[in-house]
């Protein structure tokens, strides 16, 4: 199964993400979840970014929070709402919301 997981909060959801074992996984950072893409604590990036999943962050939610999309972690691809629709229909079969 190809699973897209929406991460909508900055709380650590790594335990949940690690339990998910789809054949292919994408993590789409939205709402306050976009902080995972840029905030460093004690010099360390969010452990969500250690996942082997493909990582995406919603551009509008980054900009709303004053985060320059150019400054997100290089592992993260910045996407629009339209791109998210394409990911849902073309790249993944199921979705989950965290």
């Amino acid at each position: 199964m190809k699973l897209a997981v929406f991460v909508s909060d900055y709380k650590m959801t790594v335990d949940t993400l690690e339990r998910l074992k789809p054949e292919k996984m994408g993590i789409i950072l939205v709402q306050n979840g976009v902080y995972h893409a840029s905030v460093k604590e004690n010099g360390n990036a969010s452990s969500v970014l250690d996942s082997s999943a493909d990582l995406y962050a919603l551009k509008e939610d980054l900009e709303t929070r004053g985060i320059d999309p150019a400054n997100v972690d290089s592992k993260v691809k910045v996407v629009s709402f339209g791109d998210v629709v394409d990911l849902i229909f073309n790249d993944y079969e199921k979705t989950a919301w965290l």
């Binding site: 709402q31 709402f81 629709v85 229909f89």
Partner: protein, 119 residues
């Protein structure tokens, strides 16, 4: 083109989830997809008519109206609405009210489903 069913649970007007839901629905409609939206719990507040828009306060009535004109099919959980005093007479024109089997049926013939949980 496909059909996307979005279930938005337990979000009040002003919440991040409802705002996200309408923007995603709009992007999907713009790409030619069909979108069913189910609002449940506090999310049924979105279905009330005569919502007043204030500056600097999230207001989704107008965007919702525009999305319905583009073909958005939105249904509110009737029991959730009635429990909150939102009756048929103060429901926005174009918004349907049904029991949860509407959502279940919609998910069964959808190509993709996004179930957004409560906040």
């Amino acid at each position: 083109m496909g059909k996307l069913t979005i279930g938005c649970f337990a979000s009040l007007v002003g919440s991040l989830n409802l705002d996200f839901t309408l923007k995603l629905a709009g992007a999907a409609l713009d790409k030619g997809h069909k979108v069913d939206l189910w609002v449940s719990g506090n999310g049924t507040m979105l279905s009330i008519k005569d919502q007043r828009a204030f500056k600097d306060y999230s207001s989704l009535a107008k965007p919702l109206q525009e999305l319905m004109e583009k073909g958005l099919n939105i249904t509110a959980c009737e029991a959730c609405a009635e429990a909150r005093g939102y009756n048929k007479d103060n429901t926005m024109e174009g918004v349907k009210r049904h029991s949860m089997d509407w959502y279940l049926a919609s998910t069964f013939d959808a190509d993709r489903v996004l179930h957004i949980g409560g906040e």
